[in-house]
């Protein structure tokens, strides 16, 4: 049965169409009906036979479900939980409490070591209510130029979601937060960079946008670390190197190999200026949880059947019959795809989850507006190796969400911290990062600061810029008088089979876990409940959605034979020329650059109403 306490679902919540730029036809032809009742289990209509059974409504599984459903396969999509999202879910505080208990009872595979502190301010008839908060188990940011964004547009799942821009990336260095210089304009106008540094930075930015076509420059360093490459070949200095590698590239350690790091840095730069002066977006009301739900909705519209609170008991690959714990059965003619978190008792085939990710989530009683750009409610703060008191060997990545993200009430914010460090060291690193953030926000928001003009400057377009350099400089002299109120502090360890870096480029999928697993599926273990089941990968430390579509495509190909028609859908529109506006961003999309869809094989005359409205605005150099 459904738990009575949950956040309002997508179906109940109407997206604010105010953000769509004035195309009212667009709303009328919204062919997806509001799905009341999708959350209710419907045992009487469970099919007897399906092509594919998917267990777990996480990101990869949901994207896959929608892709398969639209392609015409019959899909039964189940989840043992009473909520959608699985490892990517967005949960209320009470749901988190339950989740923590289950983790500590070893009920949830691939998670352990969950610790929760809850203040008395959250609860019934308290200052804050549990369902005022939407906490992501896998916090994520969406790059403007990414395969998931293209799929969101192609599938129109973006219509269920609301996105906001995130332009603020802070790098923490020497106890202060530095502003990123990643455009030619920034570099040219920056008074603090030496001339030669400007030249070197620009050289690198030009190179990285086209790096694959210039092997003569990076091939000699193909096996070396990106930091070595940047120091030696481009003569960059530590502040620029760390900024490029850890804030722009969002890499995890100084040893990241060159090709991978270049790919990640480029990802940020080509996403900049696609929809505006920012590289990433985040989803309101809850990140990955909302995105999964969106794809589930889409799958349901395409004919997939959904059942929550459903757990697989066993599967017989010979008869192809899957049995659930409630006794019901279904024949699965093609494949069963399952997240390890959904595995039945007596499972033997779950892949080795040898990589650790440690996370911390804090609900804080501060609005943190000082960290955000105007009109935004989120920021990314990166603590490079060695920048923390704990001497962190690996990066600590943090994502801060303010009340404007609709995940927390006014005057509060959610702080997500994560690291690939393991064990006790991870705890120390996360605590050190938390402390650094606390000291910073207290100082920045204190009314003791007399000269506020130093903090927020207005550039020539009238846009406020947070002058974090100035902040940081006087940082050390400041003695905090108040402390930050924690409303909740949650920490946990998750395990994954995906190595920390190999998630971005399909060509780098060389360990090909999924193929190996598929092959081991053929290995029949008697008495195993999960023979013949293909397991998906648990989410990794990756803060972007990059791994999702690749993984879904690989699975899709396994089932369907090829991924040519992955989300190759053509929604009928009354007006053939109506072009969907793409992800709706706060304010109107003011860019109308060449509309070019990389995924589209048909180089046509642009005559049909092109569904995938992917703006290609490259950073001009």
């Amino acid at each position: 049965m459904l738990s009575p306490e949950r956040r309002t679902s997508m179906a109940e919540r109407r997206p604010s169409f105010a953000n769509f730029s004035g195309n009212s036809n667009h709303i009328d032809t919204l062919m997806v009906p509001h799905l009341a009742g999708i959350e209710d289990p419907l045992p009487e209509t469970t099919p007897e036979k399906v092509d594919v059974l998917i267990a777990g409504t996480g990101l990869v599984e949901s994207v896959l479900a929608a892709a398969l459903a639209w392609q015409g396969s019959t899909v039964l999509h189940v989840d043992t939980n009473d909520y959608y999202g699985d490892s990517a879910a967005t949960l209320t505080v009470d749901q988190i409490k339950n989740w923590v208990n289950r983790v500590n009872n070893n009920d949830i595979i691939s998670y352990n070591n969950a610790k929760l502190y809850l203040s008395t301010s959250i609860g019934p008839s308290c200052k804050y209510m549990s369902k005022d908060f939407g906490i992501d188990l896998s916090p994520k940011i969406l790059f403007a130029k990414s395969d998931l964004l293209s799929i969101l547009v192609k599938s129109r799942v973006h219509q269920y979601l609301e996105f906001q821009s995130l332009s603020t990336f802070h790098t923490y260095e020497n106890d202060s937060f530095e502003k990123l210089t990643n455009t030619k304009q920034d570099i040219f106008t920056d008074q603090n960079l030496s001339l030669m540094t400007k030249r070197n930075l620009m050289k690198f930015l030009k190179f990285v946008l086209n790096w694959e076509e210039m092997p003569e420059i990076w091939q000699p360093y193909a096996d070396k670390s990106i930091t070595q490459f940047l120091f030696e070949k481009f003569k960059l200095e530590k502040p620029q190197v760390f900024e490029l590698v850890f804030s722009i590239g969002l890499c995890c350690s100084v040893d990241t190999k060159v090709p991978l790091a270049l790919h990640r840095i480029r990802r940020y730069l080509i996403s900049y200026d696609v929809y505006g002066p920012f590289p990433v977006l985040y989803s309101k009301y809850g990140g990955a949880g909302e995105v999964s739900q969106g794809f589930c909705r889409s799958a349901a519209v395409a004919g997939a059947t959904y059942k929550l609170n459903e757990k697989l008991y066993s599967y017989n690959p010979t008869t192809q019959v899957a049995t659930f714990t409630d006794g019901s059965k279904v024949t699965v003619t093609e494949k069963i795809i399952m997240s390890p978190t959904q595995a039945p008792e007596g499972n033997q085939h779950i892949p080795d989850q040898k990589y650790e990710v440690n996370r911390m989530v804090c609900l804080v009683e501060k609005d943190c507006k000082e960290w955000f750009s105007e009109d935004e409610s989120a920021a990314v703060v990166v603590f490079p190796p060695g920048s923390l008191k704990s001497g962190n060997k690996h990066v600590v990545q943090t994502l801060i969400l303010g009340a404007g993200s609709e995940c927390c009430p006014q005057n509060t914010s959610i702080w997500y911290l994560s690291t690939i460090e393991s064990g006790v060291r991870a705890e120390m690193d996360l605590d050190a990062a938390l402390e650094a953030l606390e000291v910073s926000i207290v100082r920045e928001s204190s009314s003791d600061i007399t000269d506020n003009n130093d903090i927020v400057k207005i550039d020539e377009d009238g846009r406020p810029i947070i002058n974090s350099v100035r902040l940081g400089q006087s940082f050390k002299e400041y003695i905090p008088r108040e402390s930050v109120q924690h409303l909740m502090k949650l920490s946990y360890t998750q395990y994954t089979s995906t190595p920390p870096f190999d998630v971005v480029n399909p060509a780098l999928f060389d360990n090909d876990e999924l193929n190996n697993r598929a092959n081991s599926v053929n290995k029949f273990i008697p008495n195993a409940s999960d023979n013949g089941i293909i397991y998906t990968a648990m989410p990794s430390s990756e803060i972007s959605y990059d791994e999702v579509v690749t993984a879904a495509k690989v699975l899709y190909e396994k089932i369907v034979g090829s991924d040519d028609d992955f989300f190759d859908v053509d929604f009928e529109d009354e007006d053939n020329d109506t072009v969907p506006q793409g992800a709706s961003v706060n304010g109107t999309i003011s860019y109308e650059n060449a509309i070019d869809d990389d995924d589209d094989e048909d180089v046509d005359m642009g005559i049909r109403g092109d569904d995938s409205n992917e703006f290609v605005g490259q950073m001009e150099i």
Partner: protein, 328 residues
């Protein structure tokens, strides 16, 4: 609903479009014939004005029809209602929004403004903010810059006050946003030349401006040594009279010397990084050597020939020019 393949869809639409196009072409030709006939018969009425509007709606590049339209307007202007001119401006604005790079529309608009006898200063100021907006959307549209100069000139007459200083501030902002903007650098040339010509600055200000400009240029060549607009500007700046006027001979030589050092540094850096020297650096070094020679002071070593020979290898498309320069 699902499973409809895309390829099929587009072929059908393509056929449909072809048919629609043929119809459009027929309509257009008929309209043009009608309009030109009336023009040949020298008919200048508001109906003929409407007709020109229709043609220009379909093809704003048809200058003959714009000319005809202006003839009509001149004939009708005495009997025209007061809103007429505003409407005409509105008409051109609609066209410009869709076709910001068509000469004829810009021509017509400036013609309208010039003939609009009641055009107050306010209207011209409004025009300037329109150009601001256009340039903010496309900073490299030279139509916009040219138009801006016309507007500013008119405003200066109306206000009886030069605007070079403000305009310099504006162009600096635009260049800061993207130094690869040839039109903006060109504008800068115009403005600085004017500032000096019209004696808008005192001696101290002039010297400061020149020195600031040198830093600005240096900043630009370090930021992007491949950008031709920056180099063209540098070339102009080094050789123009203003600098020779404001700086003493020693100061001028010092400036050239420092610039030369910087350029050699950049060139060597390029050589080390990519194995090739930078064409622009070499060309600019030749210019500097020429400038140094012209001051009359002896130059220790003249590398011009060496540079030219390198350029022959690096820039074979212009080989003959370098050979020619070598022979001089």
């Amino acid at each position: 609903m699902h499973g409809i393949k895309r390829k099929q869809y587009s072929r059908e639409i393509l056929k449909q479009k072809r048919l629609q196009d043929q119809l459009k072409i027929k309509t257009y030709n008929k309209l043009v014939d009608e309009t030109l006939t009336i023009r040949d018969n020298k008919i200048f009425t508001s109906e003929s004005l409407q007709l020109t509007s229709k043609v220009l709606e379909l093809n704003p590049e048809f200058n003959t029809v714009w000319n005809y339209r202006r003839d009509i307007i001149l004939q009708l202007q005495d009997t025209a209602p007061p809103e007429f001119w505003e409407n005409e401006l509105q008409f051109t604005m609609e066209k410009l929004k869709r076709f910001p790079k068509v000469y004829w529309i810009w021509n017509h608009r400036i013609w309208v403004l010039n003939n609009y006898s009641q055009a107050s200063t306010k209207i011209w100021i409004r025009e300037l903010s329109i150009v601001d907006k256009l340039l903010s959307m496309d900073a490299r549209n030279y139509h916009g810059w040219h138009y801006r100069r016309l507007i500013v000139k008119n405003l200066e007459t109306l206000k009886n006050q030069l605007m070079d200083k403000e305009e310099l501030g504006y162009v600096t902002t635009v260049i800061n946003k993207n130094i690869s903007n040839y039109s903006a650098w060109h504008q800068r040339v115009q403005l600085i030349t004017n500032l000096f010509k019209e004696h808008e600055l005192n001696k101290k200000e002039m010297k400061k401006m020149v020195l600031d400009e040198i830093s600005y240029i240096t900043n630009a060549i370090y930021t992007d040594a491949d950008d031709q607009s920056v180099w063209f500007y540098t070339n102009w700046f080094i050789e123009n009279d203003i600098v020779r006027l404001v700086l003493t001979n020693e100061e001028y030589m010092k400036m050239l010397g420092e610039m030369k050092e910087n350029i050699i540094l950049i060139n060597n850096d390029d050589l080390e990084f990519s194995g090739k020297e930078n064409n622009w650096c070499l060309k600019m070094l030749i210019v500097i050597e020429g400038a140094l020679k012209s001051t009359g002071h002896a130059v220790e070593t003249d590398h011009t020939k060496e540079y030219l020979n390198k350029l022959i290898d690096l820039d074979p498309q212009r080989k003959n020019r370098y050979l020619y320069l070598l022979s001089k």
